[in-house]
Amino acid sequence: MSEMAGSLPRASETSRFPAHAIAGLAGTSFKHEHLPAILAEGRQDGFFEVHAENYMGAGGPPHQALTRIRQDHAVSLHGVCMSLGGPQPLDAEHVARFRALVDRYEPALVSEHLAWSTHETTFFNDLLPLPYTRATLAHVVDHIDQLQEAIGRPILLENPSTYLLFRESTMSESGFLREVVRRSGCGLLLDVNNVFVSATNHGFAARDYLADFPLGHVGEIHLAGHAAQADDEGDLLLIDSHDGPVADAVWKLFEIVIGRCGPLPTLVEWDSNIPDWPVLKTEAAAAQGILDRHAAGSMAETRHAAR
């Protein structure tokens, strides 16, 4: 386990919020329509993850809601639009806005994507893929370095789900990520659904990908639902849709990962066709059950070893 990955924010005398634990906990995406139900339950274990860009307005109800949630819970700040994977320089204004959110909400985890979304001045609002080459590696590392310098702490970088490949790629995705970690000092956010989606789409075994993945640097897990389409040859093409429950195969992979890594903070993402709070909460409870089982297992092993 890397010291960097998933490290807690700096303790500060100017802290606006209590520090809430996140180790070994399951969490969910925070959706404003769930706020009344969440508050009605009172304080519970678990964390909430928000998309940073939704809180980049000057004021109003979004900040009010996030402030309220942050009082009682650890929050994970998940950037979606930094375009770390693109060849052009990062948007300095966007980096400044991101930094302001980190300072304001003192998130337990901060993450972004191995992807790009802006080219020249156009924002495409999607996590677009990149070739894995020495040249793109250099850009990604530079961009992560710039972001980490700006916020004063390491980020977790999320593996993408992809639908196609680039002819020019010379490295595997897991090899690319391992090198990004080595050069930038960032940690990793392992999205198990993305592994399953990409493995299906590109015809490799998810277990082989995980065997090659630098699991020791993972600071957070993502789980989500996916949808099915077909490619040009009529074969199954999975879409990372975040619009339904976590698939059984993804739960199985999650068990394997937690078995190897121990109980990492785990997020259930659900971003469209959002269900009522009890449904999302039940998905998180299922993840928590797996985490707890492995937490108990690793504690028992530790006691056994100590004897």
Binding site: E53, N54, M56, G57, A58, G59, G60, P61, P62, V80, P87, Q88, D91, H94, W116, S117, T118, H119, E120, T121, T122, F123, F124, N125, D126, L128, P129, L130, P131, T133, R134, A135, T136, L137, A138, V141, D142, Q148, E149, P154, Y163, L164, L165, F166, R167, E168, R182, R183, S184, G185, N201, H202, G203, Q229, A230, D231, D232, E233, L237, I239
Partner: protein, 271 residues
């Protein structure tokens, strides 16, 4: 934070992958970028189309989220077809999607199939202003009784600081009535309004409110927001609208929370 020096990086021209990949995302007629491929030599056509679809659909969704009353008026299919043209012609230039759609009302005005609904663009303008108000900086509004203690002869020299969430939208059509009827959840009764309507959009605390301004109210408020004194703003309003009611307008703007503080324009004249 860097663990490995820059010298390890490969120098040279940036890979053109992003330019090539981006070029066909918003243009369904263009060929799939040659740099892309499926596994084991499979075609990338439908695979690339997943990204095309994600981009276009998510941006149409973004406009639908900003303009729900506009979509209720037109129906979903009409709206999404109209939005698709706009998304492809004018994709966002900022990663903050709550800033998107500023050009959309103007696009609606030029959209041939919306010609039968000349008020539609103004309803969209109110919705765009509504979202600006929602995300604007928080500020404490001026207390409604703030003007009560000021001597009558000094009132014309008062200047007011606009609240960050206050917006005005003027329309030649009954846009406020149409907005209000279509932004709510309930059934829509026949709308009988026909005259011009101006909207004041405010968010003194958490809830955005849209009000229909009385005659001359928009000129009065716009003058005040530009820094004109109460006296000057009232004169401008009366010159535009003979039935401008100063007392009623004053009460309305104080109650709506459109301003945060007041000052005496001519203080230095009264040492």
């Amino acid at each position: 934070m860097r663990l490995v020096s820059l010298s390890e990086h490969v120098s040279g021209k940036p890979s053109p992958f992003a330019a090539a990949f981006a070029s066909a995302l918003l243009e369904p007629g263009r060929a799939v970028p040659a740099a892309t491929i499926g596994p084991n030599g499979k075609a990338a056509g439908k695979r690339y189309n997943v990204y095309r679809n994600n981009v276009t659909v998510s941006l149409i969704d973004a406009l639908a989220a900003v303009f729900p009353a506009t979509m209720r008026i037109t129906g979903v299919d009409f709206f999404r077809t109209m939005a698709r043209f706009h998304v492809r012609a004018a994709p966002p230039a900022s990663p903050l999607l709550f800033e998107y759609g500023r050009e959309f009302p103007r696009f609606i005005e030029s959209y041939e199939h919306a010609g039968q609904m000349p008020w539609l663009a103004d309803v969209a303008r109110i919705e765009r202003a509504w979202l600006d108000s929602y995300h604007a900086a928080d500020a404490e509004p001026l207390a409604p009784q703030a003007l009560a203690s000021i001597e009558a002869e000094r009132l014309p020299g008062i200047v007011l600081t606009p609240h960050p969430a206050a917006r005005i939208v003027r329309s030649q059509y009954p846009a406020v009535t149409i907005f209000a009827a279509n932004r709510s959840v309930g059934p829509i009764n026949l709308i009988e309004a026909s005259g011009p309507e101006d909207a004041l959009i405010t968010r003194p605390r958490l809830d955005v409110t849209v009000r229909r301004l009385p005659p001359g109210g928009a000129v009065f408020l716009e003058s005040l927001m530009e820094g004109e004194s109460l006296g000057g703003a009232a004169a401008a309003a009366i010159s535009q609208s003979l039935d401008f009611d100063l007392a009623a307008n004053m009460e309305g703007i104080l109650e709506s929370g459109a301003f945060t503080s007041l000052d005496h324009e001519a203080d230095h004249d009264f040492p």
